[in-house]
């Protein structure tokens, strides 16, 4: 009590603290890559029998899409899902077929939008504020719905994303059929081998060891990504804030690049798009200003799968790189198809505005949308298609 309200700006984080965080980030990145690499090893050990039904089910693109939506909505991170998919596609044996993985990647894009929609629910008490917040949050949802509606049929008919990604991945492998070699694969393997050895001490059964390796690898990916996001956000707090401040008065292209940059910095599109929600609620940014930043975040999030592809090795490593590139190309194609033309760009904005108006009138409708679109509907559809 009695402290004056004003004070000089506080001291910045010390260099020592920054250095410590940077080292921690490197360690977490290594753990993340170990998880991706270990996942492939786990699937190889698991054997075909257990995975056949999953591979068979996801050969239906619709079900693959739903698996992607549901899985990502549950873990609330497309980075986790896409990294798992990269690991599964690149597994040396019993790998997830590339064609099955493409709709799953698209589903992950939709599933990740649930986070900022949930963030917007915090503004429910103030009707007008909530209307603005919900519109800013759901423009991400509708952009991704529209991207899937436009691109999935094209992909099923022509396989253009897969073929383009294969062509680009071929450049990494070099001309003349050289195999893709990850530059850091050996270092990552050196970390995974002791984990495998430790798990083999726990059980003599190959199946149990495989399950333990898959579960521990997925846990490593999840935990490492959560901690990376948390640390990056703290480490780059001022840069993120500066970029957001700068984007407020900038052109749509600047907003898009800021959305992309912030997502790459914090390694999470959910964080980047969730930052826009309170700003939209306060009316500091309009829906039209938030939209390009959201699209930028969508593109920026693909960098995680590309990083994950650094850890894969073996005969299917190139497929791992290919699926990471599919994620990038899908989001780039979505941006190119939807944003430049005003009538197309207005479609997700129209739906976001309309839904926000309904949600502002009935909070129950807002909750029903979140639960229904991201959990209930995909769950029912998955069950019907089982």
């Amino acid at each position: 009590m009695g402290e004056p309200a004003t004070r000089p700006p506080h001291a910045l984080e010390t260099r020592w603290q920054i250095a410590r965080r940077a080292v921690l980030l490197l360690v977490l990145l290594y753990v993340f890559l170990m998880g991706v690499n270990g996942l492939g090893g786990g699937l190889r050990l698991l054997g075909g029998g257990l995975l056949d039904s999953f591979f068979h089910a996801t050969s239906n693109p619709f079900l693959g899409l739903i698996v992607g939506i549901l899985g990502t909505s549950l873990v609330q991170s497309s980075s986790v899902t896409t990294s798992l998919i990269v690991g599964m596609v690149a597994a040396p044996e019993n790998a997830l077929p590339l064609a099955n993985a493409v709709p799953m990647i698209m589903g992950a894009n939709i599933g990740t939008t649930v986070t900022n929609t949930m963030v917007s629910l915090a503004h429910m008490r103030q009707r007008e504020e909530f209307r603005r917040a919900f519109a800013v949050a759901t423009c991400h949802d509708f952009f991704n719905f529209l991207a899937v509606v436009l691109l999935l049929p094209l992909e099923l008919a022509f396989g253009f994303l897969q073929h383009s990604a294969e062509a680009v991945a071929g450049l990494f492998a070099g001309a003349g059929g050289w195999a893709y070699h990850s530059p850091i694969e050996r270092a990552v393997r050196a970390g995974v081998e002791p984990v495998q050895a430790a798990l083999s001490l726990l059980s003599g059964s190959r199946q149990v060891q495989a399950v333990l390796l898959v579960v521990s690898s997925a846990a490593m990916i999840y935990a490492a990504l959560v901690l990376i996001v948390r640390n990056m956000r703290r480490l780059l707090r001022r840069q993120v804030e500066g970029a957001v401040q700068g984007a407020l008065g900038g052109s749509p292209l600047v907003s898009m690049l800021v959305g992309l940059g912030v997502t790459v910095m914090v390694q999470s599109s959910s964080i980047a798009t969730s930052l826009l929600v309170p700003l939209g609620a306060a009316g500091v940014i309009s829906l039209a200003q938030a939209f390009p930043a959201t699209i930028g975040a969508n593109i920026g999030t693909t960098v995680t799968a590309l990083i994950a592809a650094l850890a894969v090795s073996g005969p299917r490593a190139q497929e791992g790189v290919t699926i990471a590139l599919v994620h990038l190309l899908f989001n780039l194609a979505g941006a190119v198809l939807i944003y430049p033309l005003k009538p197309v760009r207005n479609i997700p904005l129209f739906f976001a505005k309309r839904l926000a108006e309904v949600a502002a009138r009935s909070r129950l409708a807002a909750l029903a949308y979140v639960v229904g679109a991201f959990y209930l509907l995909p769950g029912i559809l998955a069950w019907l298609n089982r």
């Binding site: 309200a5 004070r7 700006p9 500066g242 970029a243 800021v258």
Partner: protein
């Protein structure tokens, strides 16, 4: 797009991602706002006491007032973005103080503009005499106090703020007394209205300067309170 334009855009983008201290940026904008408002008060006083209807001077005052208003909105946006992005509870009091004080400084700008606009009430010169001298003395004191208050606020000088609050309260009382004297004077109505309104505008300017100073002395919930009892309570709890 030309090569130069591309380079400029890239530089702009790189600058966006360069780390800066957000609170520092808000402080700088607020200091700029204070400086502009002080100038406005001086210019408004000049126009009023000279009873000059020079278009150029009036336009300059209006332009400066628009600048002050823009800075008010800019600081508010910065505060909202800072609190939303950094979620930093430590910075919350300072941000809320800024949110409140930008309104005070913006109002100071408005009163300065209104002061200059009193010329429009008629071209008659101000009545010479004791009342005008009193008003001029009050103007000098309030402008001087505002000048010092800007420095006191920017340096968070607590003792300086307390002394200035005590001094500023006298100016408020002086304005009130002058308005009563004008009401009971034999001035012709047009001149009396001009002087009374000017005294009232200076009183409001002084009041907003005191609000500004309360931000240095008082805890957040007692912002805008600057009675002796409040000051003693705040300074006694140091």
């Amino acid at each position: 797009m030309a090569c130069g334009e591309k380079g400029a855009m890239l530089r702009e983008l790189i600058n966006l991602f360069r780390s800066g201290e957000p609170l520092q940026a808000m402080c700088e904008n607020f200091a700029k706002m204070l400086g502009l408002s002080l100038e406005l008060v001086k210019k408004g006083g000049e126009v009023f006491f000279a009873q000059s209807a020079e278009e150029e001077k009036r336009r300059a005052i209006q332009r400066q007032d628009v600048e002050v208003n823009k800075l008010e909105r800019k600081i508010r946006k910065q505060v909202v973005v800072h609190l939303s992005v950094s979620a930093n509870a430590v910075d919350l009091p300072y941000c809320l103080v800024l949110m409140s004080l930008v309104k005070d400084v913006e109002r100071i700008g408005d009163y300065a503009k209104d002061l200059a606009a009193l010329v429009d009430l008629g071209a008659a010169p101000l009545p010479e005499g004791e009342l005008l001298q009193e008003l001029q003395a009050l103007r000098q004191q309030i402008e001087r106090d505002f000048d010092v208050a800007c420095r006191v606020f920017n340096t968070c000088d607590r003792e300086g703020a307390v002394a200035l609050i005590r001094q500023g309260r006298e100016a408020l009382e002086g304005c009130e007394r002058l308005i009563r004297e004008i009401a009971h004077s034999s001035l012709e109505p047009g001149a009396a209205v001009k002087l009374a309104l000017a005294a009232r505008f200076y009183q409001r300017i002084a009041g907003h300067v005191l609000n500004l100073l309360s931000g240095v002395v008082m805890p957040l919930h007692r912002l805008d309170y600057y009675d002796e009892k409040d000051i003693e309570q705040a300074t006694g709890r140091q």
